[in-house]
Point group: C2
Chain length 355, copies 2
């Protein structure tokens, strides 16, 4: 081998080695950048989701301790339903994150309620209530449930008021909650008390710690899931501190939802409320907080597993075929939205006596 | 007026005055005697009713904190029933003294359960469970409810075990409650855990303060009611610290019960269990603790008001027509049996996750 040839070989070897080292350094830098980008991820997520408020107030129904106290009692009260079996707690069992775990809820006389029971946690934050937005507020929902044929099923509001007025315990509680009113026991005030209680039901989770700057509040997989959640476009509907509840959207933008959900019947959604053809298959975007604890999924409870729900949503809403890994990451991220159930919800009040 | 005549008048006046004073003194003495007899009333009642124990242990199922903890969770668990709607808490709502307030309880698919739901409080003290004594213990009741067609309605115990084994939260809880067992998740252990929880459900009341010597724990009306309760013979069946649950008795000794209860159907009671003709119309004597808070009354929930139940019992069991006042007094006494609901019952546990 000539000296020139030897030198050339050495130069090439050195260059290759240098390139390898540079490559390795770049790879390392990339990893470091990923770690460093926690801050950026937090900044980006905070911009989209914002901070979770401590309660969900309404100018129409100020939250007062006495209203909340009464609302908590009424939440558990079945004796004001037509067959004495329906209370808020029936379709919203507190030990199960206020969902009943059924595809569709069951009201009086085992009547099927049209859609799946959503969790009450953080629900008062939404633009409207019910999957198709046919209730304007939690108060409106509570009041109308009393006379809803498949819900409490009472013939009219007077019959509810009469039962409540017959128990001295309620006379005292309503008087305290609505001081100065001549007749505090009304269906309207029932709704205000239950609504005030619901407006306190916020469930902070580890995701909120993360948004406040604690990078270690999420696992690496959850951080990847959060990134994928934002990159894929999930957050174009599931934004706000509640990750949803702020808009309506067609379910099945790119293909009919029922192909994947295997729904037994096709629900046309909000068109039933507005009669507007553009609202066919439109539903309110649900709040994703506590979603890992509130199966089954969708308006008809047609899907049991969180991972399946994630896969379906990406496909029918965003025309995206997520990989198994991406689905797992997003599902892991969603578990960071599982919050602490408020103690006041888990403590059952003793109900007023009938004797 | 002659002196003799005057003297005679004075003597008569003096005698009359003396008689009046003696009368007044006797009246006063009588009142004092009534007050003094509190002690005797306490002594007499304590002999009949005894002291309320702190729990209701069983050699077959020792109460341990870990079993009670698991039992409390299982108490609220509906996902092990055939339609995912039935839990112990369904027929035994804790805010209503663990009764559902229905004439007859409703199980899976709204199926009617044969008889009225009794309170679980102090129930483990009884010679048997269910109105006709067809369950040997609270454990036996809990276990059989799982496969009872109108109750949880599961096809067999294995199907319940399979659901529980599918939730990691239950795997951990059963392991803790039954340490050292190779397969802790069994229907038998479900029953033991729920039973252990139930064995803690004792509800001390103001009557217990009275029995311990505090004469002021009962009002005068309640004391009169207690006396009438004992004098009339109610305590010949409703004895023990639980005021019942210790024996069987024919319902309608002196006349058919249905004449007064206006029961829609005539339930022949325990004969269904024993096939013994002497058990026709025989039922277990119910525990009277918390009776004022657990309407409607009797095995078929046919009577709504406590006073009516008292009147009927005296008539058909003891051939006694109580006065309105006596009925009111006994009803007042019975309210002294309304106890404090244990905090552990009112606190709902968060149930294990399905995801």
């Amino acid at each position: 081998m000539s000296h020139a040839r030897y030198l050339k070989k050495r130069v090439i070897a050195t260059v290759v080695s240098l390139l390898f080292i540079i490559g390795a350094l770049m790879l390392h830098t990339k990893v470091s950048l990923a770690a460093d980008s926690d801050e950026e991820l937090i900044k980006r997520a905070a911009k989209i989701f914002g901070q979770l408020p401590a309660s969900m107030p309404s100018p129409d129904n100020p939250i007062t301790p006495d209203k909340v106290k009464l609302g908590r009692v009424l939440f558990w009260e079945p004796r004001i339903s037509i067959d004495r079996t329906v209370s808020c707690a029936k379709c919203h069992p507190v030990g199960l994150y206020t969902v009943d775990g059924l595809r569709k809820a069951l009201g009086n006389h085992y009547k099927e309620i049209p859609r799946n029971s959503p969790t009450l946690f953080n629900a008062a934050s939404q633009i409207s209530e019910h999957w198709i937005g046919n209730r304007t507020s939690v108060e409106d929902q509570a009041k109308q449930a009393l006379v809803g044929p498949p819900a409490y099923g009472m013939p009219n509001y007077e019959s509810v008021e009469k039962i409540l007025r017959g128990m001295s315990g309620y006379v005292a509680l309503f008087k305290e909650a609505f001081p100065g009113e001549k007749e505090p026991i009304t269906a309207e005030n029932f709704a205000k008390a239950v609504g005030a209680f619901e407006r306190t039901l916020v469930t902070p989770a580890s995701f909120d710690d993360f948004l406040r700057g604690n990078a270690r509040a999420l696992t690496d997989q959850q951080k990847r899931g959060l990134t994928t959640f934002m990159d894929t476009g999930c957050m174009s509907c599931h934004f706000s501190p509640y990750l949803g509840g702020q808009m309506y959207q067609k379910f099945g933008v790119f293909e009919p939802y029922e192909t994947l959900t295997k729904s037994q019947a096709v629900d046309e959604g909000r068109i039933a409320v507005t009669k507007n053809p553009t609202d066919r298959f439109v539903f309110k975007v649900p709040v994703l907080r506590n979603v890992a604890e509130t199966p089954p999924y969708f308006h008809d409870g047609s899907v049991d597993k969180l991972a399946d729900a994630v896969m379906i949503m990406a496909k029918v809403q965003l025309a995206r075929d997520l990989t198994r890994e991406q689905i797992g990451d997003i599902a892991a991220f969603l578990t960071s939205l599982t919050g602490k159930i408020p103690d006041a919800v888990l403590a059952v009040p003793v109900l007023p006596s009938e004797n």
